[in-house]
């Protein structure tokens, strides 16, 4: 496949590994923020090929994993509402709430439809005027402009049986929180590739400067990830702390202005509750006033739920903060498996625990 296969070339990978080996010495902790990077790393087996001194830590970049339990329970309550048809990305189907999951609710007779695109969810609303379609808006800045477009279309076309349960979150505030918490000694960030296509490399300049942290925006193929590691090592060696773009073919300093404009037209930033990280100010997206009619929480009067207690012994929070690895969780691989997950980290296809389990 064009623009994929060339970047998976074995010879290029070997060359990069040799160079990384040459430059590595002191142990370094590099965090990959994006869940899709975690998956890519595990699928290709890169970790086993890197020198031991390079420690790749998975961060909280899995939008499903960081969805607060209270939000999951709210989604399940919506699913149980007989007027509602839930439309959702497949990732959400098996996420466990306090007592159930969308998959289980579907088995019990609730209408839950997996879709590839939010556009398909809007079309579903058009095709089925007798039901209220609620789209579960989960995802970071890569996905938010798409949902913003669909909400904007719904308003323009006056499709009243459509709404979204909004759980969108923003990446840079979470990165800042991790750095402020100082739980780990980080030497650099592999920044998310497609989030950066939207927000641009300038979004990380503050972080690089304030925390003296090398930030390199990475593509998703093995050569991309390895080149990013190399760029981070070089910065470390040179005592630098800059924002660089490895993924030049898809990321620009200004990001995608049209997408950002759509995002800002429909959403404003506000508090968001991140599983494992707590409430982070200005880290979530909320629908602006003209679009309140498309806010499922308002439409269906979802009462603010006291943060439901996360299952004890579940180490998802620490895993998301990069402080623990899945094998350190007492439940991992024993009580908590992809078939019977305790927390979202095991359920989400790119959750750290799922990746460790599948690709160990």
């Amino acid at each position: 496949m064009k623009y994929i296969d060339e970047f998976r070339d074995k010879k290029l990978v070997s060359g990069l590994l040799e160079e990384i080996d040459r430059l590595s010495g002191q142990p370094v902790n590099l965090m990959e923020v994006c869940g899709t990077h975690t998956m890519a790393i595990f699928r290709s087996g890169i970790k086993q090929l890197l020198p031991e001194t390079i420690n790749l830590i998975s961060g909280p970049g899995c939008p499903v994993c960081v969805t607060a339990q209270a939000d999951i329970d709210a989604m399940l309550a919506l699913a149980r509402d007989k007027r509602v048809t839930i439309a959702t990305f497949g990732d959400m189907l098996k996420v466990p709430g306090t007592r159930s999951s969308l998959e289980k609710e579907r088995a019990a007779g609730c209408r839950v439809v997996p879709v590839y695109s939010p556009l398909d969810a809007l079309e579903l609303a058009r095709e089925r005027p007798g039901t209220e379609v609620v789209f579960l808006a989960v995802g970071f800045e890569t996905t938010a402009p798409a949902i913003a477009s669909v909400v904007s279309d719904a308003r323009r076309q006056n499709i009243t049986n459509f709404s979204i349960y909004c759980c969108h979150k923003l990446i840079p505030p979470a990165m800042k929180l991790l750095l402020d918490a100082r739980e780990l000694k980080l030497d650099g960030f592999l920044c998310p590739g497609h989030v950066s296509s939207i927000i641009g490399s300038r979004a990380y300049t503050g972080i690089a400067r304030r925390y003296r942290m090398p930030c390199v925006i990475s593509g998703f193929e093995p050569t991309d990830i390895l080149e990013t590691v190399l760029m981070l090592l070089r910065q470390r060696r040179g005592g630098a702390a800059r924002v660089e773009i490895q993924y030049k073919r898809a990321v620009h300093p200004a990001g995608n202005p049209l997408a950002m404009r759509m995002l800002r037209a429909v959403f404003s930033a506000g508090d968001a509750d991140w599983r494992g990280l707590g409430v982070i100010p200005d880290s979530g997206l909320h629908l602006k006033k003209p679009f309140h009619g498309f806010d499922a929480a308002r439409k269906f009067r979802i009462a603010p739920v006291k943060t439901a207690a996360e299952p004890r012994q579940c180490l998802c929070g620490k895993v998301l903060r990069g402080v623990s690895t899945p094998p350190q969780c007492r439940l991992f691989g024993k009580t908590c498996t992809p078939e019977h997950p305790y927390g979202p980290c095991m359920v989400s296809s790119e959750g750290t625990c799922a990746a460790w389990y599948k690709y160990r």
Binding site: M1, I4, R8, K10, V13, S14, G35, T36, M39, F42, R43, S44, G45, I46, Q48, L49, C62, P63, V64, F89, G90, D91, L93, K94, E103, V113, P114, V115, Y116, S117, D120, V138, G139, T142, T143, P222, T337, P338, E339, S348, S349, E350, Y357, K358, Y359, R360
Partner: protein
């Protein structure tokens, strides 16, 4: 008024309507002397070791590029027998049909079953027909059972894999899974990929005639190649290593998988078989496969690396390894 001839609850009551339906739409297409006896059971003689299998088919949509539920129902059972080294002989077909189902569609499915059976050289000697209320079945469910004879020296089992065995597959993976998922149109993806649905008994016969020492044969249906390899690893108590670079995947199946974020190793195949052969026999097995229309793309994709804790490992395209586990749950499109 709707003039389309449809299945009524009465067609399942065993009375005149049932007999009329069987006489008009089913028996003529499955025409054979055993069925013509119209007795409560089919009577025949079998010599030697006999294999018996059953499978139920609930695929949606009922008609998809490359096949339909009828063809699938015949090939699925024929293949299960063939994988055991048995020559498939007789099949039964039991249908549970939803009230309101168009009779012309039923006839289309029966014709398809008849054609598949004829091409595979098997006879449908019995069956059943029931009708359930609207909503109680997804159009039609079909169960087929089949018996076959195992010639001496041809017995194969999932327990037979041994360290050193080479793993062969007869062609491209993931075609049936892709064709059916695309045909459901849930994700608005269009592709020219056709289901690989086919009866493999001819291919198996060609291989076994060539005389190679075959230890395991299995068709990687639901759950895909990865799941089937895990099943064999468990049954035989072995470790298997598969080479990612050797896996035959067409560009379209790859494209489909990449968009949805799913893995071709977990997509269903309905015309493919995995074969574990003694390394000295591999050349003969490959030649026999490649000489058959259903095996032209046959290749070695891996080997059994040892005995012990069952494990399936993938050697990745960049030279590393990772564990290939069984499929857990459905494969769904993801954004992450």
């Amino acid at each position: 008024m709707n003039n389309t001839a449809r299945i009524l609850l009465g067609h399942g009551s065993g009375g005149t309507l049932t007999h009329q339906l069987l006489a008009k739409s089913i028996f003529p297409l499955f025409d054979n002397p055993i069925l013509a006896q119209a007795d409560d059971a089919a009577v025949f003689s079998l010599k030697g070791a006999t294999a018996l299998t059953t499978d139920s088919f609930v695929v949606q949509p009922l008609f998809f590029p490359g096949g339909d539920i009828g063809k699938l129902a015949v090939c699925g059972t024929v293949n299960d027998l063939a994988m055991m080294g048995a020559a498939p002989l007789y099949l039964t077909a039991a249908c549970i049909i939803e009230e309101g189902f168009e009779i012309s569609l039923l006839e289309k499915i029966i014709r398809s079953m008849s054609r598949a059976a004829r091409e595979a050289g098997v006879t449908i000697v019995g069956g059943d027909l029931k009708v359930v209320e609207q909503g109680a079945a997804d159009g039609i469910f079909i169960n087929t059972s089949g018996v076959g004879s195992i010639a001496r020296g041809r017995s194969v089992s999932g327990h037979g894999a041994r360290p050193g065995d080479l793993v062969i597959i007869n062609g491209h993976i993931g075609e049936h899974g892709t064709a059916v998922m695309a045909a459901r149109q849930n994700y608005k993806l269009t592709t020219a990929v056709k289901s690989d649905c086919a009866c493999l008994n001819g291919l198996v016969d060609a291989v076994l005639r060539a005389g190679p020492r075959v230890h395991v044969m299995r068709d990687p249906t639901r759950g895909g190649v990865a799941t089937t390899l895990n099943e064999i690893a468990l049954q035989s108590g072995v470790q298997i290593e598969i080479d990612e670079e050797q896996l035959p995947v067409t560009p379209a199946v790859r494209g489909f998988s990449e968009i949805l974020g799913i893995d071709p190793l977990y997509l269903a195949n309905e015309g493919k078989m995995l074969l574990f052969a003694d390394p000295r026999s591999t050349a003969a097995a490959l030649a026999a496969m490649r000489g058959h229309p259903l095996g032209k793309q046959a290749r070695i994709i891996g080997r059994v690396t040892g005995k012990g804790e069952p494990l399936v490992v993938l050697r990745t395209a960049i030279g590393s390894t990772r564990i290939l586990s069984m499929l857990t749950g459905e494969q769904l499109p993801r954004i992450c």
